[in-house]
C-alpha cells in the first residue's frame, strides 16, 4: 500500500516538474506528428537530392518537355488516328485508350459470363451448380498472367490465314486473330445508332414508370409492345428512311492476310479472353454470395404474402442482393482495369506497354511511371467516387 502511495507521489512530483509539458496530451500529439512529418519530408528530400544528382550524372533533363517530341513508336492498334510521326503525348493517349477499350469490353463480357455462372451456382440442378463451381475454382486459382500466356500460345497455334477456322459464316479465326463482318459505315448508320440509343433511354424510363404505375393503379400495363416499337421499329424506320445500306463488309482471306471486316489482333483477343475468363470466376462468386445473402426468411415472408416468383425477384431479392453485390463488383471492375496492364507481357500496346517503350527510348522513367500512375489513379478514383455515391444512396438504415 505504502509502496503504491510512494510510487504515485513520485510520479506526481515528476509530472509537476519536467513532465508536465511532455505529458500534456496536445503536446504529445504534436510531437508524434512532427516526428512523422520530419521523417517523411526528410526522406523525400533525400530521395529528391539523389535523383537530382543521378539525373545530372546521366545527362537526363527532367520534365515533361519530351511529350511534344516525335515518338517514332509504332502502335499496331489505335482507336484514334496515329502514326509513329506523332508525339509521345499522342502515343500515350493511344495507349490509354487501348487500356480503356480492352478494360471496357472485358468488364462487359466478364459481367455477363460471371452473372450467368453465379446464378448457375445457385441452381437446383446439381450438374449445373457443380460445373459452375468447378469453373470458379479452376480459373480463380491460377495466376492471370499464366492464363494469358496460355491463351496467347493457343491462339498462336491456330492455323495460318489460308486454313483459317471458319466456325460461322463470315467469322475467321487464324493466327492473325479474330475477323468478323461489320456494316459499311455510313452517316445513316450513325443516325440509326443514335435513334436506338435514344429509344433505349426512353424504354428504360418507360419501364420504370410502368412498374411504378403498376403499383399506383394496381394493374400491370403490357410493356413489350411499347418496347418493341421503341427498340426495333423506330431505329429500323430511321435507318431505312435515311437509306442505310445493309451491306456487310465481309472478311475475305487473301493470301497471308485477311481483307475486309474487322480483325482483332491475337494480342487483344488473348488479353480479352484471359481477362474475361479470369474475372468472370470472381464475379460469379460475388453474384452468388449476393443472391445468397438474401435470407431464407425474406423469401418465405414474400411467399406467405402471396407474391409471385417474378415479383419476389424484382421487389425483394434484387434490391437487397444488389446492395451486397455492387461494392465488391466495383472493386472487381477496378481489378479488371489494373489486370489489363499485363498486356505488356503479351505485346498488346496498352498504356503500360507504350509508356515502357517510351521509357527505353527517352530515359524519362520518373515522368513516365508518373503518367502510368496518373492514368490508373484517375480511373480508380472516378470509379470509387461513383461507388461512394451509390453506396450512400442505397445504404440500409439501421438503428
Amino acid at each position: 500500500m505504502t509502496a503504491l502511495n510512494n510510487d504515485i507521489q513520485a510520479h506526481n512530483r515528476r509530472a509537476t516538474m519536467l513532465g508536465s509539458f511532455v505529458s500534456n496530451v496536445a503536446v504529445r500529439r504534436f510531437i508524434w506528428q512532427a516526428l512523422a512529418a520530419l521523417a517523411l519530408f526528410g526522406s523525400v528530400f533525400w530521395l529528391a537530392a539523389n535523383l537530382h544528382h543521378n539525373l545530372a550524372a546521366r545527362n537526363i533533363a527532367s520534365g515533361f518537355g519530351f511529350l511534344t517530341r516525335e515518338a517514332g513508336l509504332p502502335i499496331a492498334e489505335h482507336l484514334i488516328a496515329y502514326t509513329p510521326a506523332d508525339s509521345y503525348f499522342r502515343a500515350l493517349l493511344v495507349g490509354t485508350l487501348n487500356t480503356l477499350s480492352v478494360a471496357f469490353w472485358s468488364i462487359i463480357l466478364a459481367t455477363i459470363l460471371g452473372t450467368a455462372i453465379g446464378v448457375a451456382r445457385t441452381s437446383k440442378n446439381w450438374l449445373l451448380a457443380k460445373l459452375s463451381s468447378i469453373y470458379v475454382d479452376l480459373f480463380r486459382d491460377v495466376p492471370l498472367l499464366l492464363q494469358l500466356f496460355l491463351w496467347y500460345t493457343i491462339l498462336q497455334k491456330l492455323p495460318p490465314v489460308r486454313q483459317a477456322l471458319n466456325p460461322v459464316a463470315g467469322v475467321f479465326l487464324s493466327n492473325r486473330g479474330l475477323s468478323f463482318p461489320v456494316v459499311d459505315w455510313q452517316a445513316a448508320h450513325g443516325w440509326t445508332l443514335l435513334a436506338f440509343v435514344l429509344c433505349l433511354l426512353a424504354t428504360t424510363l418507360y419501364a420504370k414508370r410502368a412498374s411504378r404505375k403498376q403499383l399506383e393503379e394496381g394493374r400491370a400495363k403490357s410493356f413489350w409492345p411499347v418496347a418493341i416499337i421503341l427498340l426495333v421499329i423506330i431505329p429500323l424506320v430511321v435507318g431505312f428512311s435515311l437509306g442505310a445500306s445493309t451491306n456487310l463488309d465481309m472478311p475475305q482471306p487473301k493470301g497471308f492476310n485477311i481483307r475486309g471486316g474487322v480483325t482483332v489482333s491475337p494480342e487483344f483477343f488473348a488479353l480479352l479472353v484471359g481477362l474475361v475468363i479470369y474475372n468472370a470466376a470472381f464475379i460469379a462468386e460475388i453474384v452468388r454470395s449476393g443472391l445468397e445473402s438474401v435470407g431464407r426468411g425474406q423469401h418465405e415472408a414474400a411467399r406467405a404474402l402471396g407474391l409471385h416468383p417474378k415479383n419476389i425477384l424484382t421487389w425483394i431479392v434484387f434490391p437487397q442482393a444488389l446492395r451486397v453485390i455492387v461494392p465488391p463488383l466495383t472493386s472487381q471492375y477496378l481489378n479488371v482495369t489494373k489486370g489489363s496492364s499485363l498486356a505488356v507481357a503479351i505485346g498488346y500496346q496498352d498504356i503500360v506497354s507504350v509508356a515502357t517503350t517510351s521509357m527505353n527510348q527517352t530515359g524519362q522513367s520518373i515522368e513516365l511511371v508518373g503518367v502510368i500512375m496518373g492514368v490508373y489513379l484517375t480511373i480508380s478514383l472516378s470509379i470509387s467516387l461513383l461507388m461512394n455515391i451509390y453506396n450512400a444512396r442505397v445504404a440500409l438504415v439501421e438503428r
Binding site: 393503379e217 426468411g297 409471385h308
Partner: protein, 255 residues
C-alpha cells in the same frame, strides 16, 4: 369479451387429414388430423423439434406435405398454382424472426403485397396500411425502416403487414420467442385484440396466459403427432399423458 364460437355450426377454415411429411428419412409429421373452424383460435404447443412449425407451414405450402390432404377455405393444397395463389391470399403468416423487408419502409412493407398481389391502388393501400399500423399502435413509425425499430415494434409491423392482405386466417409461428420479455406483452396484446375481432388464428406459442385467454382449443404435439387436444382448461389442467405432463413441467419452470 371474446366472441362466442361454436365449431360445429361454423364453416371449416382449415382441414388437415392424415398428413404425413418426411425430411429425407426423418418422419416429421405422422398422420396429423386437425380441423379448424372459421373464427376458431387454436394454440399449438409442444417441445422444440416436434413439428409445429412444419405443420403450420404446410397450411400455406411453405413446406410441402407428402401424404394426406389439406384444405384451406375450401381450396385444396396441391400443385395447382392457382390454388396456391388463392390460399396465400387468404392466409397471413407471422414469423418468429419477423422477416420484414429491410430495404423498404414500414409503410412500403405493408403496401407492397396488396398492390402487387391484390392490385390495390397506392392511395388505398396506404390508407389501409396506416389504419392497420394504427391498430397495432405504431402509426408514427410508418416512414422508418425496420432496422430502426425495436423487436416488439417490428413484430407488430409484421402483423400489420399480414393483416393488410385482409387474410381470413392468420398463422403465428412463435411470434414472441425472439423478443425481450418486456416486449412480449405488446405483441400478445395485439394478438388478443385480433382474436377478439373474430379472426381465425392458428398460433404456435408457449405463452400459457395467452392460450388461456383466447384459445378455443389447445393442441399438444410431440414427435410429429398430435398427442392431446382440448380446451386450455382441460389440456393445461388435467394432462392425460406423461409427455404433456413433462412438457408442462418444463414450460412452467421456465416462466
Amino acid at each position: 369479451m371474446i366472441a362466442e364460437t361454436d365449431p360445429t355450426t361454423k364453416a371449416t377454415a382449415v382441414s388437415i387429414q392424415k398428413v404425413n411429411k418426411w425430411y429425407g428419412s426423418l418422419h416429421v409429421l405422422r398422420d396429423v388430423d386437425l380441423d379448424v373452424a372459421a373464427g376458431e383460435r387454436v394454440v399449438i404447443c409442444g417441445p422444440s423439434g416436434s413439428g409445429k412449425s412444419t405443420l403450420i407451414r404446410c397450411i400455406n405450402n411453405l413446406e410441402e406435405h407428402q401424404q394426406g390432404k389439406i384444405v384451406v377455405d375450401g381450396i385444396q393444397v396441391d400443385h395447382n398454382i392457382a390454388h396456391l395463389d388463392a390460399i396465400r391470399r387468404e392466409v397471413g403468416m407471422v414469423f418468429q424472426s419477423f422477416n420484414l423487408f429491410p430495404h423498404l419502409t414500414v409503410l412500403e412493407n405493408c403496401t407492397l403485397a396488396p398492390m402487387l398481389v391484390r392490385g390495390v391502388a397506392r392511395p388505398d393501400a396506404e390508407a389501409q396500411a396506416r389504419a392497420y399500423l394504427e391498430r397495432v399502435r405504431i402509426p408514427d413509425q410508418a416512414n422508418k425502416f425496420p432496422g430502426q425499430l425495436s423487436g416488439g415494434q417490428q413484430q407488430r409491423v409484421a402483423i400489420a403487414r399480414a393483416l393488410c392482405m385482409k387474410p381470413k386466417i392468420m398463422l403465428f409461428d412463435e411470434p414472441t420467442s425472439a423478443l425481450d420479455p418486456e416486449m412480449v406483452k405488446e405483441v400478445l396484446d395485439t394478438m388478443v385484440s385480433l382474436a377478439k375481432d373474430g379472426m381465425t388464428m392458428i398460433c404456435v406459442t408457449h405463452e400459457m396466459g395467452f392460450a388461456r385467454e383466447v384459445a378455443d382449443r389447445v393442441v399438444f404435439m410431440d414427435h410429429g403427432q398430435i398427442v392431446e387436444s382440448g380446451s386450455p382448461h382441460s389440456v393445461f389442467g388435467q394432462p392425460r399423458t406423461d409427455r404433456l405432463k413433462l412438457f408442462l413441467g418444463q414450460v412452467l419452470r421456465e416462466h
